[in-house]
Point group: none
DNA sequence: TATGAATGAGAGTTCATTCAT
DNA sequence: GATGAATGAACTCTCATTCAT
């Protein structure tokens, strides 16, 4: 995954993968049909797990604000724990991500549901929920990109409240 | 550029480029040292022009809110006029983009300056200007991605005010 | 053998062989030194047995015509009983067949001896015995190829006499 | 073609082909889509030409015996002129040969037509024409195989009359 | 003795780049 | 200056063979 994030899937050779895995060149192909297949499994399994955890976290809270905060927290915790995984799941747009079926559950679909619910409950102002989700999701994730590029230094977990509140302002009633 | 956006730089062959340009296979190499060099020039020249126009647009206004609005308007006008160019300059993370020197003037650096100035003038609340820029830039751009994926239907130029105001809420005093 | 005939020896993978034999991938190598070795044993043992039976059959008759008939009958009986074996032993030109020592006893060498004897006994007209053997052997076997390709429908065992007589005409006094 | 005949199509590497052609490894792929495609074109073009010449030769004669003789002569002339081509077109059963459409004009289909015509004209005895063709074609070709293996020494062109007459006996009235 | 995961040499193929025309 | 045939390094992937279990 490290290689895929750093050099892209196309840009990573199967030989490099084998070396990184300290395995023979052909070994990968006993486990995955192709390089693309490996990339897809890496994406699919990790995203599924992340989404499940994300749902669990959100479920614990009742207000939309709290749920949003949980989401930001989850994303930034993942980032500080495993930057590569975050990049692979949330920041890169690779071939693997394009294989997703349209009904796939993703962080975006969860955020969208959250927004719709918040609007129904009158916590959020009426607006195109897709627009709201786009604004919030973009804001949250771009912070991680800035951190990667070094513009932001602080541990993102310290910034959860600040980011949550900023996003909240965009969508609250 | 269309090919680069659709299939990635690595994923585009020089033969495809030649075909699309209705030129011979070797012709490209008389104008650019390599495929990567072409990608870089395509990026560099267009970004420079866009940034210049963006600066001109912003300059016309005095308040930070107006300037921010001008920026959103410029980005969304570009998107609706030339999606491919927008993708190539603002949405894709390709090798070409990584060649940029650190002191390069980009939409982000312009936004950052705008935020700093707004904070000095007391229009924006005190906060890490990088964080503010990240939140705003992320919000603005993610809307275009949603539009590309079809979640948003409207012409983005109609949404300039709504997006500007939403972003403004995140950073205003 | 089925796989070897259908896809060639080179074209058959050891994994396919293992599957077909309902054995593990490595098991074959405990019995044969290599895939080629398996192919050779399969060829050698079956050809030896077939040649022995062929000799026995021929021995039962005294006239050359009868012996020739016995040979045709034997070949066509084998074909109708076991097409794959016939293909493997008589029709395919594979690596295994090329391993044969020059003094190897084959259907051809038997036919050649038969022709020589027939000429000595004055039943066959004087001619290069190799030419005679070639003509007869070619005629007999090509019928099976036509049958495989579907140009001939009848059971070859019904055609033994017609084929024998046709061949006989080529070589009789 | 030499390599294909000697080692089979599967058994010949593209590297060997390039070396034999004194060309780079990639050059072949500018002219043919794949190794199999090269094999097919080599087969198709040469067989088409040979069949055309064969038809021309046969056309010159009026009696079936003469036509048959022309066919034998043509095959053996090809053999003595270009053994490799003969092997590739007439003796090997390779993947390329299997690509042939069923309505393809081949030496066999020509021989079959010749037999049918001869039977209609009363020159040949009544029998399954496919059987007749198989017997004759097998006899003619097996002689070349014997020559390749060294059992027959003479120039096949000297043997045209003998082979023709032998075959004739099988099918004449 | 049988297994099947691991191996790595080598296969077919692609494609950025060169250069004679 | 433009071309496109030729190139060969490097790619993904296959598969006969090995060997620890």
């Amino acid at each position: 995954m490290k290689l895929f994030v750093e050099k892209g899937i196309e840009g990573t050779t199967t030989r490099e993968i084998a070396e990184a895995a300290k395995a023979g060149e052909g070994t990968m192909f006993r486990h995955y049909k192709s390089k693309e297949d490996l990339a897809w499994h890496l994406f699919d399994e990790n995203l599924t797990r992340f989404v499940k955890e994300l749902e669990d976290d959100i479920q614990r809270y009742s207000t939309t604000h709290q749920k949003l905060r949980a989401m930001v927290e989850k994303c930034y915790a993942l980032f500080e724990t495993d930057r590569i995984l975050t990049s692979y799941l949330l920041l890169s747009e690779h071939t693997a991500a394009r294989r997703m079926p349209t009904d796939y559950k993703t962080p975006i679909s969860i955020l969208l549901a959250l927004v719709k619910q918040g609007q129904t409950q009158g916590e959020l102002r009426p607006m195109d929920p897709h627009l709201a989700a786009a604004l919030v999701f973009g804001a949250i994730l771009r912070v991680t990109i800035f951190k990667i590029y070094g513009s932001i230094d602080r541990d993102l977990r310290e910034m959860v409240d600040e980011v949550t509140d900023s996003c909240w302002k965009m969508i609250q009633v």
